[in-house]
Amino acid sequence: MEPLLVVEHFSVQYQRMDRPAVDDVSLSLNPGQVLGVVGESGCGKTTLIKGILGFFPHCVAGVAGSVRLEGKELLGLPDKERRNLLGTSMDVIAQDSGTSLNPMKRIGKQFSQILGEKLGLSYQSSMIYARELLARVNCPKELLNRFPFQLSGGQRQRVLIALAFALRPKLLLADEPTSALDVTVQGQVLRELELLRRDCKSAILLISHNLGAVSRIADQVAVMYQGQVVEYGETHQVMDTPSHPYTKGLIACVPSLSLPKSQRLYNIPQGGKEWEGGCRFASRCPERIPDCQRQAPQLRPGKKGGLVACHCCG
């Protein structure tokens, strides 16, 4: 099967940063599948998503590699062609979704503006469609008459998911869609994303630092560290039998309710010095060997399947 999204050797360099924020990342995503991308904040997840969309702010100094959607190269695509793809072929739920709605426009108006321009619907039919969409994400249709500040955080997030539903994108990039929400709402929002995937057969690139969320709905997982993918494989295998020391650390960091209170939480040690070459994780790595600081490990098949970038556990 031809993958829907192929990202190859993709790098994004910001001005005045000593290393690329996204560094030689390769990923692929099949239609209807969910790929989870995890990693601590600042590792380049949002930059990756914006790069796939082709949104490079002025402070981006260089971009390299290839991003293909259904075989079509996206890097360097003219604005007009990209606009035709945006929304319908790929869509995004931005990280700070609290500000993603126009604060001065009623929700209904925002629906009708987008549906009108992208699907050519009249105001009346876009309202009918919007009510249906809101019902699907368990929101009352009264929300259409409200302004964003009159909605709760969870409702705003669901409105955004409904807006993403509306155009039935083949690929949805979801940037920490649950991070700003409380735990009960997180579960509901994840269910609604699942629904979107089932109904629209959308593939989802789910970014999160919530490992629980990712392991629940992702088919594959990529673990990012300082702009690079350090481990990449099937979800169960990465989550249950992690290879890379960083992945192990991330999983050990998740607080578990079943743990006795007396047990201290695991803590990945903070790296002391600046990175000077070799493995980026070396200075924090409990399994470090002398080779690590000399030579950067390549991403290659690990013993347990999947891909790992590590000298000592490959």
């Binding site: 949104f55 126009n102 321009e117």
Partner: protein, 314 residues
């Protein structure tokens, strides 16, 4: 909405009362004994007896609150007393001068909006391209050089050298052009920068990212969303700027010998013609209050967060 407006209007009313107290104080303490002044004007010898008779006649022997009330009652009927210099009721002079100043300031206001709005939008849309650089350069010039210098330059070129526009004579449209331009130039320059800044700020907002990521045209984003949102800070500034327009009119009217309130004020200050000065202060206060009340009303209509009392946290 009514709650917000009532609070604002209440505050403006307090401003009016405060200004009227100051103006009242001015008539009473700064100008010396009005009884003596009137006597001097009528040529009667200011003996103690005569002064006391006059004080009684003018109501100066009553308590201050009583005097304030009679004074304000007269003022509310448009009776500002008689000019010490000409002996003409101030009311008659105002009836002639207020329309002249209104023509000037409203003209300058319209010119400011008419120039600054399109140029500010254009400049923002073309950010860092040639039109933006040129507009911003021109705006900086307009800001750096004081208004009256522009006035002198404009006079020199258009009246003296080219003979295109008259500097004296009837209050015709052609006569109005130079003073209006002089008055509006600095304000126009400022508003180009303000409007450009407000639009650029809005373009960084999350909702613009959302609309772009749905593949909407920049045109829809700008005209259908950004401009209305950017108008909110601009409108609240405009209320304040009309005050500076009225202040600027004092200089411009003297420069172009335009028979408005400003030049009237200057001659009156030179002659210590207190009834006129008091009338001017009161009129300006009323204008300030009216304009700000109007700006608040407009903001209320524009911004649902103000109208419905929602926070800005969205």
């Amino acid at each position: 909405m009514p709650g917000y407006l009532i609070k604002k209007l209440g505050r403006l009313l307090l401003v009016l009362i405060g200004v009227s107290l100051i103006a009242f104080g001015m008539t009473h303490w700064i100008q010396g004994n009005p009884a003596e002044l009137v006597l001097a004007q009528t040529g009667v010898d200011p003996t103690q007896e005569e002064i006391e008779r006059m004080e009684h006649q003018l109501g100066l022997d009553r308590s201050l609150p009583e005097q304030y009330l009679t004074w304000i009652e007269k003022v509310l009927q448009g009776d500002f007393g008689t000019s010490y210099i000409t002996g003409v009721p101030v009311k008659e002079e105002l009836a002639y001068r207020v329309p002249a100043t209104l023509k000037l300031t409203i003209g300058a206001f319209l010119v400011t909006l008419g120039l600054a709005v399109p140029l500010g939008i254009w400049s923002a849309v073309q950010k860092d391209k040639l039109p933006d650089v040129l507009t911003r350069g021109a705006a900086s010039m307009g800001l750096a050089v004081p208004g009256f210098i522009w006035g002198l330059l404009l006079c020199y070129w258009f009246s003296v050298r080219l003979g295109l526009l008259p500097m004296t004579g009837e209050q015709t449209f052609a006569r109005l052009v130079l003073p209006v331009l002089t008055l509006s130039l600095p304000l126009t320059s400022r508003y180009i920068c303000v409007i450009r800044g407000c639009i650029l700020e809005q373009l960084e907002e999350g909702y613009v990212f959302l609309l772009r990521s749905k593949g909407l045209r920049e045109r829809t984003i700008l005209w259908g969303n950004v401009l209305k949102n950017a108008a909110v800070p601009v409108v609240s500034l405009l209320g304040l700027s009309l005050g500076s327009l009225l202040g600027g009119s004092v200089v411009v009217e003297s420069l172009f010998s335009w028979p408005g309130l400003g030049s009237y004020l200057i001659t009156s200050i030179n002659n210590r013609d207190y009834p006129v000065i008091t009338a001017y202060v009161l009129l300006m206060a009323v204008a300030f209050v009216l304009i700000n009340g109007l700006a608040d009303l407009l903001l209320c209509l524009l911004d649902p967060r103000i109208r419905l009392g929602g926070g800005r946290q969205t």
